[in-house]
Symmetry: C2
Subunit: 334 residues, 2 copies
DNA sequence: GTGGCTGATGTTTGCGTAAACATCGGCGGT
DNA sequence: ACCGCCGATGTTTACGCAAACATCAGCCAC
């Protein structure tokens, strides 16, 4: 910077002013400084800048494996939104969802250059790990019900699920089975609860829950069980991947979709429209979730707006070919 | 830090020594300092540290959309490997693969706190954008043939493709059609070239290339074309997602897989085993690619080892149910 | 005992930047 | 003409840390 100042014949402070787009610099001087910067290939040192300003303009994102579409898409949206706000995003992967690993990620975080953190995981693991967050680091959480303790942004799991169940009931199915996600996922739990609630509200019996782990393979295994249930005519899968496995299992067992069994998924991954048959599912607006996360965390940093509470992003039902009235037409109900 | 020093009754330099795990500190003193740190909740300021040391211990990763499995898995592996080496990973998303956007990402990078960059995209876009990288920032590239100009780490596209083609020829197919990826992807181009080379080497005719854009939807559209080709008994899809769409198109047109048409994919995404039928494909070791990227970039930073050149990671053929001898048994060939 | 050495610790300094304050020339109002 | 003010720029300082150097006590060899 001193070199630039010398070359431009000004003081380093003026260089600083130009580089920060400060007002009150003569246009002529400004051009000289810019020219000098270019000639010397000057680029501001972000470490020094951060040191002086006391902030890094960086947001940390903590998440488990990036193997679920939702996390990835959310992360991508966060990165994009953050970039638009002039913030960088630092990734803090947690290999295994154990308390030790989570604690490890947070202790790494302790000496990491971030102003705020967005956590994409069930917050219980976070609390259980008894982490102590740096006091000035703001936190926003996705996939959690901890709205009273943290700022939470999430898809409206409950609303989406009720839409799915209602869609199947409207088609005439007497009840809807549920292929749930893993128990330690808040999203999975929330979907299972809403499914149960929707059935109960409609006065329908709730079949036993079949559980997977989000993977297509687990959906296949669960599907083999469901295929054996004679009275199962409609299944709500907690995500599209498991729905894919379910479709394969049903196909193998000779149960046609949607003629014999209707299947509805959750997420609307890009591939869902290419399943056999194309999958009816609930579209999640991950981009919006990511955007809201960034906004929320920036608002917290600036200390305006609420410090906690939950923001829900609505889902949208995407009708494709995997749902239809039950065998016999379902006229018995409508 | 001064507070800690005061509380522990030592100088700030001793605190620094303890916090950096320096030798030559009396165990007793050390414990006192640690106690003081804990009491005051001291945590080192990474900005000051970076300023003093002249490095950030951060690697930037530039990539297009995280919607392809490969990029995501590579990114994840990079993040994990980097963390193991004590490095953080900063994400630089490029929304659209235009030169302007790429240039934008790099200019953001200019004032970003990174010591090195890993680029996950075709390097032509990078060069075309006439970016000027900060001189001391090291670069490693994935998905590119720029081995003579950059350090490149990539999956062995060519070897994998030849394995796929050979597998189909060995089953007795007279030739293999190719559902290729977009032209601007180096990986897609490389796979297409290798496919053509393998056929030529075997003295087989090369059918016209059908092109998609990696998405399942594009695979479906291409699949409708392929299904109309009476003599098409084997297809090599450049990735699993397109293979998924292809399977759907073939199914819709009444062409059975693998009885009438064999399909082989590339990537081995987790869902591939749940396709209808489960997909034979080439497994890519993304974790290894990511690990090697980090190693390569660190080696460059430390200035030991080669500054350029290409490292290839082998693929592995995963046999499932989507490939079989051609109708008629293929005995005419073997 | 004295010189030289080692290991433990303290002191000084500067990394690159930007806030705070200082300076200085010019301009309008009285 | 003089005061005061404003806009443009320069000077000083401190951000938190760690390298370099300085100090100092204890110990060994002769």
């Amino acid at each position: 910077m001193a070199d630039v100042a010398r070359l431009a014949g000004v003081s380093s402070q003026t260089v600083s002013r130009v580089s920060n787009g400060y007002a009150g610099v003569n246009e002529e001087t400004r051009q000289q400084v810019l020219a000098a910067m270019k000639e010397l290939g000057y680029r501001p040192n972000s470490a020094a800048r951060a040191l002086k300003r006391g902030e890094f303009r960086t947001i940390g994102v903590i998440t488990f494996t990036l193997s679920t579409t939702g996390n990835v898409r959310t992360l991508e949206a966060i990165a994009t939104s953050a970039a638009a706000e002039g913030y960088a995003v630092t990734l803090l992967p947690v290999a295994v969802p154990t308390q030790d690993e989570v604690r490890g990620a947070f202790s790494r975080l302790e000496e990491l250059a971030v102003d705020a953190v967005i956590v994409i995981m069930e917050v219980h693991l976070l609390d259980a790990a008894t982490v102590t967050l740096p006091p000035h680091v703001q936190v926003v959480v996705v996939d959690s019900d901890a709205g009273s303790h943290y700022t939470v942004v999430d898809t409206d799991q409950s609303g989406g699920t009720r839409t799915a169940v209602q869609h199947l009931l409207d088609l005439g199915h007497l009840t809807v089975w549920h292929l749930a996600g893993p128990e330690d996922s808040f999203a999975a739990q929330r979907r299972a609860d809403a499914w149960h609630g929707a059935l109960t509200d409609a006065g329908r019996p709730a079949p036993p829950v079949v559980r997977g782990d989000w993977s297509a393979e687990s959906g296949y295994r669960a599907g083999l069980e469901l295929a054996a249930q004679e009275d199962c005519t409609a299944v709500f899968a907690a995500n599209d991947q498991m729905a894919l496995g379910l479709l394969r299992a049903l196909h193998e067992r000779g149960r046609r979709v949607p003629e014999d069994v209707s299947v509805i998924g959750f997420d609307d991954i890009p591939e869902a429209s290419s399943f056999l048959p194309p999958l009816t599912t609930l579209h999640q607006d991950f981009a919006e979730v990511g955007r809201l996360c960034v906004q929320a965390v920036l608002r917290k940093m600036r200390r305006d707006g609420p410090q906690r509470g939950t923001t829900l992003v609505p889902t949208r039902l995407v009708l494709r070919d995997s749902t239809a009235p039950p065998p016999g037409g379902g006229a018995g109900e409508v």
